[in-house]
Symmetry: C2
DNA sequence: CACCTTCTATCATTCAGTGATAGTTACTAT
DNA sequence: ATAGTAACTATCACTGAATGATAGAAGGTG
């Protein structure tokens, strides 16, 4: 096994060491979220930098509650998570307000539309409505993706300044899906452009051949409470054609913002 | 304020008072799960029988982590829950194994099929594949429903004995969706019948007009790791027609059991 | 302006979480 | 069989983090 080199995990274990117990439990859950298969107790302990005994207590407690399940190969997330997610989808104001509007948007444009929110340094897809012919790449609800690629830039552009600077400071240069490099300076410039124009048209940034048009959903504080986008492929649509749908998506974004 | 009198909540806060912190945090989450709208801090404190100060610390911590979100009307579950759920769906052995088999089952029968597991005294729908014409009542993934109505009885029948007796002891008599009464004795008799025959055909138990045929998914320990069922309505299908599909659903249940 | 509610902040006490260690079970290899 | 290894469980003294009573700030309402 690859062994060490994992203690550098910058888990957001927050301010100092208050609220340790709960934070550690959430670290364990999120460690299992990142895992692509069952984890042994010792693996969880290593990944989340906890003492084995502490890990054991925490994990067993989460197992008792159904948040983690155990099989012969180790521990993984449990079905109770699904109940919570169901409650979220049913109750969440943003989701419930956006759903019919996205449905209408997808009906009128024929494209897949989606809604996502910022969560730390990532964005989470909260809702999606497929277009007439669904994309072969099904972007799954609940999936986390980086903020600095594709539509996430809109959330970044409208985020609070201190967070943004922190984010950029620690961010290494990345490459887009089509191979183009994206330096911190590129990103800064693009964020400024987004703030000015109010939208972002992304071509092959996160996914090769993907084309998306993203608009912020205005929140009460003037920032972006979320963002919505229309997604298609470079094969089916030209950037100009997609950009022509800006009024449509803007109307939808405004409608959602007005109802939250 | 009314103060006391709330300590009677039978929350599964488990063995004595060890692991308090985490258990309380989960209580808070599940209290928000049950709520059908945003809850104020004081409401959460009351619902989960916690001191206001404790509630505040816990809630704020969960907010910081994205498990809870706050708006003008109070607190509700946050989008990070969705990420966890996504990871569960993608990784869960049972779900991934069952999905294609349920798809095949629905294709060959034309009916909606679903997979659910036991969680405490409820069952949770883990996967569902719609039939040719989806039911008007869309049973949502992640939803919790009682164990003693409809297909849940199968999980109850194959559960461990001590749990079962506990369950029956505290259970009040209930009424089925069509008005029939179901006493504890009725239930015991039915569970025995299920254990013998290995299936359960439910008519208008949980939902009026619903008709379902349920089979356990055998686990390694001889018990039921889960259960799958075919769902239709009394309008479209007769009980006899549905029962004729027993070989089909049995084959599917066996196939799932063999692969976990 | 007084009143109420919601949320936040402070702080001494103590009890629950911590982590080192030892024990149990189960599997693999020789 | 037997030793060896890994995974998980159990125990326990110490301590520091969670607790909860109380006071305070912020925001709204009649």
């Amino acid at each position: 096994m690859e062994g060490l080199g994992t203690a550098s995990m910058g888990a957001p274990t927050g301010s100092g060491n208050q609220g340790r117990t709960l934070d550690r439990a959430l670290d364990v859950l999120e460690c299992l979220e990142r895992a692509r298969g069952p984890l042994r107790l010792s693996e969880i302990a290593r990944e989340s930098a906890l003492h084995l005994a502490t890990t054991q207590r925490t994990v067993n407690q989460l197992v008792r509650r159904g948040y983690i399940q155990q099989d012969g190969l180790g521990y993984s997330l449990g079905p109770v998570i699904l109940s919570l997610a169901h409650a979220f989808v049913v109750n969440d104001r943003l989701s419930t307000v956006a759903s019919p509007i996205l449905t209408e948007l997808s009906a009128s444009t024929g494209l897949t539309s989606s809604l996502f929110v910022r969560s730390g340094r990532e964005r989470i897809l909260v809702a999606r409505v497929d277009g007439v012919n669904p994309l072969r790449y099904q972007f799954p609800i609940g999936r986390r993706v980086p903020l600095d690629l594709g539509g996430g830039k809109v959330l970044l552009a409208y985020g609070e300044d201190p967070e943004l600077d922190d984010y950029l400071a620690e961010r290494p240069d990345v490459h887009l899906a089509d191979g183009r490099a994206q330096t911190v300076e590129d990103l800064r410039a693009e964020l400024a452009r987004i703030r000015e124009s109010g939208y972002h048209l992304a071509e092959s940034e996160r996914e090769l051949g993907a084309l998306s048009l993203t608009r912020p959903v205005p929140g009460h504080d003037g920032g972006a409470a979320a963002a919505i986008n229309l997604v298609t492929t470079t094969e089916k649509t030209t950037p100009e054609e997609l950009l022509a749908l800006l009024p449509e998506i803007s109307r939808a974004a405004g409608a959602i913002g007005a109802r939250i």
